[in-house]
Amino acid sequence: MIDKRVATIAEAMAGIPDGATVLVGGFGAVGQPNALIDGLIEQGAGGLTIVANNAGVGHVGLARLMELGRVRKIVCSFPRSSDSSVFEGLYRAGKIELEIVPQGTMAERMRAAGAGVPAFFTATAVGTKLAQGKETREIDGRTYVLECALPGDVALVEAWEADRWGNLTFRQSGRNFNPVMAMAGKTTVVQTQHLVELGELDPERVVTPGIFVDRVLHVPYGDPTGF
């Protein structure tokens, strides 16, 4: 029987090595896999590259992971938020590397990684400092910049419902980066609000089919709070 469910956060985090690239889903607090991020803090891997839309808030979650010195580099579109002081302090001190990526380019680069596209052209960022040093090409009279795929060794994803094959649904705007990161992660770990029986999910309504998922942990924490 295929059973991707794991019983403990330790199993969910097993094998994440030092130096791994970890994709972290969510947009603000919505759809953010908080239990898995805490699990990663507990697990101990360091020298990580984190790919997430934001660079952490307050002193919890991603900010805590950074504060513990476990993040070598962060790839994100929006490093600043209401309280991103941990990131900013580390960054000013030269203790963390930053790659700013336009949000859509970031999503597309991960989708490309999941779809077997190692590089693609895009009009986003042409002529700006985020395209500096990158190859450009004129195609049909418009200039484009070449962007490469952004795969993860691990993707941490939050779902609303999951079954033992790893089929996922999401809740409202909690979908955001999660399905894209699930595609791009070599090992995709999911925390889900609801575990359902195989066959309970309408096959027309599955957003992330189980082929993109490796481990499923049941974390019925309720509603997101704060941003």
Binding site: S77, Y91, T122, T128, Q172
Partner: protein, 220 residues
């Protein structure tokens, strides 16, 4: 340049939003940037169907919910609570940005630090020395939408012009802006530079020019 002209009152933010909303035809798909542009959604004339998009995978965004009806899973790109209208749909981030980058949005409205007479826009980093600026979806929106309109005050708080010959701040996109709605005027970006479409009542062309670095033209 910051002296107030006796007979002229600049538009309030709400008036700017109303003025801009007036120009959005029924049926357009529109993304409103974080900050000032967000208010445009509330100003679309009653009965006119305009469909609002939010980068985080919401198409058909509705107004903010009543305080006791907040849905904690339902935010917009500015991380404010919103609602979904009838006919709305959820998509993931790559599909959401496919709408933006694939040229499917009829309009994007962004705020800006500067707009140049060639349509360049600078709205994401306040200086070349800003080492960790937050770009979000601004570059995708500016490069991807069918039209980019900018909504901003005509000058900075200390009176420096924001409609310039060439942007001095780091660029968001080249030649992308089509139209600018300020608290003083509506201006089209044309091959000849800024063309004044409309001015705040009581403001003269010369007074507007005095508050603008780029040379202004009268709209044909």
């Amino acid at each position: 340049m910051t002296d107030t002209v006796a007979t002229m009152t600049p538009l309030s933010r709400t008036q700017m939003a109303q003025r801009l909303a007036h120009d959005i035809p029924e049926g357009w798909y529109v993304n409103l940037g974080i900050g000032m542009p967000t208010q445009v959604a509330d100003c679309v004339p009653a009965g006119r169907e305009v469909i609002f998009h939010s980068e985080n995978g919401v198409l058909g965004m509705g107004p903010a919910p009543a305080k006791d009806a907040v849905e904690p899973w339902m935010i917009n790109a500015g991380k404010q609570y919103v609602t979904l209208v009838k006919g709305g749909a959820y998509v993931h981030h790559a599909d959401s940005f496919a709408m933006i980058r694939g040229g499917h949005l009829d309009l994007c409205v962004l705020g800006a630090f500067e707009v140049a007479e060639n349509g360049d826009i600078a709205n994401w980093a306040t200086s070349e020395n800003d080492t960790a600026p937050a770009v979000g979806g601004a570059m995708d929106l500016a490069a991807g939408a069918k039209r980019l309109w900018v909504m901003m005050d005509h000058t900075t708080k200390d009176g420096r012009p924001k409609l310039v010959k060439r942007c001095s701040y780091p660029l968001t996109a080249l030649g992308a802006v089509r139209r600018v709605y300020t608290n003083l005027a509506v201006l089209d970006v044309t091959p000849n530079g800024f063309a004044v479409v409309e001015m705040c009542p009581g403001l003269s062309f010369a007074e507007l020019q005095a508050r603008t670095e780029a040379e202004l033209h009268k709209a044909g």
